[in-house]
Symmetry: C2
Subunit: 161 residues, 2 copies
Amino acid sequence: MTRGAAQQTAHHTHNHKVCIEDALTTARDLCAERGVQLTPLREKVLQIVWRSHKPVGAYEVLDELARSHKSARPPTVYRALDFLMAEGLIHKIQSLNAYLGCVEAGAPHSGLFLICRKCGATEEIADPKLDAALDQASKRARFRSERRVVEISGLCAQCAA
Amino acid sequence: MTRGAAQQTAHHTHNHKVCIEDALTTARDLCAERGVQLTPLREKVLQIVWRSHKPVGAYEVLDELARSHKSARPPTVYRALDFLMAEGLIHKIQSLNAYLGCVEAGAPHSGLFLICRKCGATEEIADPKLDAALDQASKRARFRSERRVVEISGLCAQCAA
DNA sequence: GAAGCTGATGCTACACTATAACAAAGGCCC
DNA sequence: GGGCCTTTGTTATAGTGTAGCATCAGCTTC
């Protein structure tokens, strides 16, 4: 169900079909457990988001969705994306206005995203030290933290080389 | 020139004129040092952004600017905002598409923003432990970090009470 | 099985955010 | 004065996201 650390990274070369299948299976299981509906439309959107490890814009999703789903309109896509985010199946990358499949759906987590500005590949990382630093900083400011956005742009290992 | 820690926080009550004056003075000095032009237009935009400790949208800036500057249009505002960001005088809050005066202009830093979802007040915090955690995480992933976005939404001390 | 409810989708229009592209104006240098 | 650079003016348009109401399918209750 969960993948090993090596497969969670945004490699330039890997068998991506496995990523997609894993994500869909996890999503179906989670939604079933929670009693929420992963409808064909929502599943299709999830699949589209998972076509790569690059964040994908809502209107890119729409273009792709429209190929198989003539009636697709902006609200169609945004509603599906909102559902998937609410269920923790995808994340929104705020600095790109784009959406990315979550590699650890189900596990409570607030990721750190490493976004390559050259190839677009984006890796989600969980980091206890980061969580601790953020919790500590919030606490010091007597701030009640609810939602986190932590994104780093730069060059991935491959593109920096 | 730099303010004490107490005055950097997004208090609900404080003499905000001091904040604005400090920010403008710092901006003028910095731009003079760097040989870049803090034109009246840019200064006015900076002043508008500094009207509060809440992030302000570009079109809010435009509305305000237009009161004294009839020819103001979207590009007028975005160009000024881009300049101010490039000089490190303001920050963009990505999760709100809004802009906020930088409390520590000039000092190299990558802040953590605590954004109150109720009152909107947003506090910028510098945190060495956070920086360390981010650097370490980037390094582990062999990622060359360039730009950071760290934003936490929630409730500030006053609004949580 | 009709009435009513709920959640999901269809559909039109619109609001909000941001940029492209080119023109004009002003300062500076030679 | 001519050429160059930076800033601002101006029009148009691209990109991102939501409001609001209609419809439809499944489910329940009587």
